[in-house]
């Protein structure tokens, strides 16, 4: 058998974030490596490829200052692990789970493999609990449920951070008085973005219930590959061992994917689309799938990854593959943003796949599914009428089409638009939806049932119902 912690002096090659070590034996795939620079600094790494006598190691701390002869490499015979404990809430860590707030390492916690293990689909509980975020465009049109993974597809300069912070502040369940614990992972974002979240958590008084994993823009890029895994490993512990409801916010997935590409290129792998490795899908899935609920377990992991679409292109491999894995997406729209709409949630491309089972009678309100469907259909009509109006002029439109244009304005200005600190109840959101629909002729509303029309369309709810 092998001795733990075999140490070797000297590396044969240093190439970007990778180090090649020769003359080794008994090293395992994926195992953790400690690299000591000639000046005595310790860095962590991970084995990417191993044969009988050589190993390829990716170094999380960057490879600057390493030399062929003076570098020492210690193979630790264990996978990359992070401590997990309830006491990590309220603390700040780096991407590898080491304290970054000047306080000592959390003691007494378990050590867990950051890669995690796949959840058995048979053991999952189907997520159905409506989360009220207080944001109408999400609650009414793209409902979030507990245990869902719903990313925000954004662009540079759009207010995705403010929306994520608002959701973290306002998210709650309708019937239970349970607040969410928040695990926050930042990869390659600027210091002030991270600080914005800290401030926001402090202001709303939840900071003691937040664990932050920060790998900022000036930290080594390879560390970003571990950051979300560290965060999710803690989230899994909190949710499935401690029975807590965890909201995981990960920003920015685009930086994560850039790091993945960097490693793949350094290894000389055959690239697929836009230079990203062929396993980008599987790799992203290994993160996103670490969300959900388990049968017989109280806790849940709800994931909200944020990604900025390079040049707002939703067909770019990062948003594209993400959309194939996550359960919908909240897409932010630059045009709405320019027109001063907050939150600029794009009406049509946004989607929540788990919405169908989280809303309706006994969950939100009986008319919710049909109202949402009707709003989508009507708004989609608005889009095509606007395209028509841009050619023939608004004056030439038929009377019904003009009503649609008016509906579109009302929809964007009263249903979608709301304040950053405005927390709307689902009833209020539904009422706003009906109010917008009332602009249209009754006969146009074929996606809502006759009874719903009688109940909500013909008799507007009294004003005091507004929350």
């Amino acid at each position: 058998m092998r001795v733990s912690g075999l140490e070797y002096r000297g590396v044969s090659q240093v190439d970007g974030p990778l180090v090649f070590v020769q003359g080794i034996s008994g090293v395992g795939y994926d195992e953790l490596v400690e690299i000591v620079t000639p000046s005595g600094e310790e860095r962590l790494g991970q084995v990417l490829d191993v044969s009988e006598t050589a190993a390829v190691v990716q170094v999380f701390g960057g490879t600057d200052g390493l030399s062929n002869a003076g570098t020492r490499v210690r193979f630790l015979a264990e996978p990359m692990r992070v401590p997990v404990s309830k006491r990590m809430l309220g603390r700040v860590f780096d991407g590898l789970g080491r304290p970054k707030d000047g306080l000592p390492q959390v003691i007494g916690g378990d050590l867990r493999d950051v890669q995690g293990k796949p959840i058995n689909p048979y053991a999952r509980e189907y997520p159905r609990d409506f989360i009220q975020t207080g944001i109408t465009s999400i609650d009414l049109m793209n409902t979030l449920v507990r245990g869902q993974k719903l990313p925000i597809f954004s662009g540079n300069g759009l207010p995705h951070n403010r929306i994520a912070a608002q959701i973290a502040r306002q998210a709650k369940l309708l019937r239970e008085d349970v607040s969410f614990s928040i695990v926050f992972a930042a990869m390659g974002v600027k210091y002030d973005v991270a600080q914005f979240f800290v401030d926001s958590f402090v202001q709303s008084g939840v900071i003691s219930n937040v664990a932050m994993f920060l790998s900022l823009a000036d930290d080594p890029s390879v560390e970003r590959l571990i950051t979300p895994r560290s965060a999710l490993t803690l989230a899994e512990h909190l949710a499935f061992d401690e029975g807590m409801h965890v909201l995981v916010i990960i920003t920015d997935m685009t930086n994560y994917c850039e790091s993945l590409r960097e490693i793949a290129t350094a290894r000389g792998e055959i690239p697929s689309r836009k230079g990203y490795p062929g396993y980008l899908y599987s790799d992203l899935a290994s993160l996103y799938e670490r969300a959900g609920r388990l049968q017989g377990v109280e806790g849940s992991i709800t994931q909200m990854p944020i990604l900025t679409m390079p040049s707002d292109d939703i067909s770019h491999p990062i948003p594209d593959l993400t959309g194939y894995i996550t359960e919908g997406q909240i897409v932010l729209d630059r045009d709405l943003h320019q027109r001063g709409v907050y939150p600029p949630v794009a009406g049509l491309p946004s989607l929540s796949r788990l919405m169908k089972d989280g809303i309706g009678k006994g969950r939100t309100r009986d008319d919710h599914p049909h109202v949402a469907s009707q709003l989508f259909a009507a708004y989609s009509r608005v889009k095509s009428i606007r395209a028509l109006a841009s050619v023939i002029g608004e004056e030439e439109l038929s009377p019904t089409d003009k009503l649609y244009i008016e509906f579109g304005k009302k929809f964007e200005q009263t249903v979608v638009t709301q304040g950053e600190f405005e927390n709307r109840s689902i009833e209020r959101s539904l009422e706003l939806g009906w109010e917008a629909l009332r602009i249209l002729p009754r006969a146009e509303l074929y996606r809502v049932s006759e009874e719903e029309l009688a109940k909500y369309f013909d008799q507007p709810a009294p004003k005091e119902a507004q929350a």
Binding site: S25, G28, N120, A123, Y279, L294
Partner: protein
Amino acid sequence: MSDPQRTSSTPASVGEIVRVNGPIVHARNMAEAGMLEVVEVGELRLIGEVIRLHDGMATVQVYENTSGLRPGEPIYCTGRPLSVKLGPGLLGNIYDGIQRPLERIRATSGAMIDRGEKPEPLDEAKTWPFVPACAVGDDLVPGKLFGRVQETGSVEHRLLVPPGFGGKVTEIAAAGDYRGDEIVCRLDGPDGKQELSMCHHWPVRKPRPVSQRLAMGEPLTTGLRVIDTFFPIAKGGAAAIPGGFGTGKTMTQQSLAKWAEAQIIVYIGCGERGNEMTDVLKEFPELVDPRSGRSLMERTILIANTSNMPVAAREVSIYTGITLAEYYRDMGYDVAIMADSTSRWAEALRELSGRLEEMPADEGFPAYLPSRLASFYERAGMVRTLSGERGSVSVIGAVSPPGGDFSEPVTQHTRRFIRCFWALDRQLANARHYPAISWLDSYSEYLSEIAAWWESHDAQWHDLRDTLMNILQEEVGLQRIAKLVGPDALPDYQRLTLEVAELIKNAFLQQNSFDEIDMYCPPTKQIWMLRILVRFAERARRVIQAGGTLPDIRGMKAMTRIVRMKSTIPNDDTAAMQALYDEVDGELEQLERRFA
């Protein structure tokens, strides 16, 4: 074919790992190993398959996570190819890509999947009510029936002599309860004495033999109007559903798995979401098959290799699925298999190929991608089985093209091997028009083959269908003009076409899978809906010709009833459909008289 044990207490030979690169492991001392042989890798005995041999060195793809595996660890040969175990107990089960039952894995390793688990695919302890179907002295050949088991309330499991076996029956068990592995029949054949239990193994990459391939003539009705009426698939056919994310591939696949008129459904979640499989697992047992009146789960086998499960097992999952499908086909059943999504499978091929440092073709996919796709889709078909019965396997593969762009390699190659193409459209999905199957880009080459079946229900079927299709096609041209000049500038009869096309979309093409009535639409109701819409189109045109205006048509009382007929009139209530038809006819006739 002998029936080797799945576990390898006495391994044929032992090799040694020399390199580990993700799911690909290289080993030496493997001269004894055969190509595509199953091996157990490392001290954890992870399951793998030999995919390349060179001078005693073997390249192995491992179906489990290889973290911590080191060079120098042993690798055990098992002497058998990757196989599935076939026998009663498959139905209602959920397996991973290499037929490990997820329910039993959960029992032993908890909510997260541990490595090195090797539970038996079928419950060895469970007994089945065996009924013999042969007598001592009978001469049995492969495919011959020797017994029956009522596997679930709706499915009788027919025990057939497996390929490679045969001879005179020397002993047959009496009717009674037996375990799956118990010997129930002994044969004295040309190759010596043989024993048959209710179970046998079959290598997944080898199609099961049939006696003859047959022409297709019957539609596989699905309850989805846009498919059954406009782009039908035949029993034994192959279809693809390509679409970008969020266009409803999975929803369509699940809808097909629920309502397709097949006796057995194999649903493969290949590299997709875990929650989707959970959804199926929760929902299917509660749904009732409109034909058998039994729970849908009783006819369903699920294979779940979700996106976070090992990539090599994803590659093999579709072979596992189709082998199970062929097994039930051989009993004379119509089987439908849904693979969601074949793109993830192709990506698994690409990832493995990259690790093997093979020369890539299109977009990094290996050059053998088309031949692999072809060999998968070719396992679909209507056949005469070895026992002389008719059976079929219909394959419906979802394709997830990057960026929704159908010109990418997987969609393009798939198109060559399927005959039914249901293109999902982003615009329709955005407007929440589901199923978002585009009536412009989709096609079915089975139309002429199965028209006769529909015409036996209504001789006019083909004309009715074509009439609606023509209106939809005409609309596209008119919309192009309307976009430039506004719809009001068009003459009334053309605006009527736009109006009718809109009605067809809302009343017929769009289907609500959450509505209790509309989720499934039987062929007879589809025909009635066709009749009503065609009648409406014809008569409304006559009204316009007689001098009526569009508002007259729009103001008809019957209009809302037509839009809502899909969800308000019960599926088997033909009298109500007839009444609506008469009402539409009558109201339009009155209108026409007013102007005449």
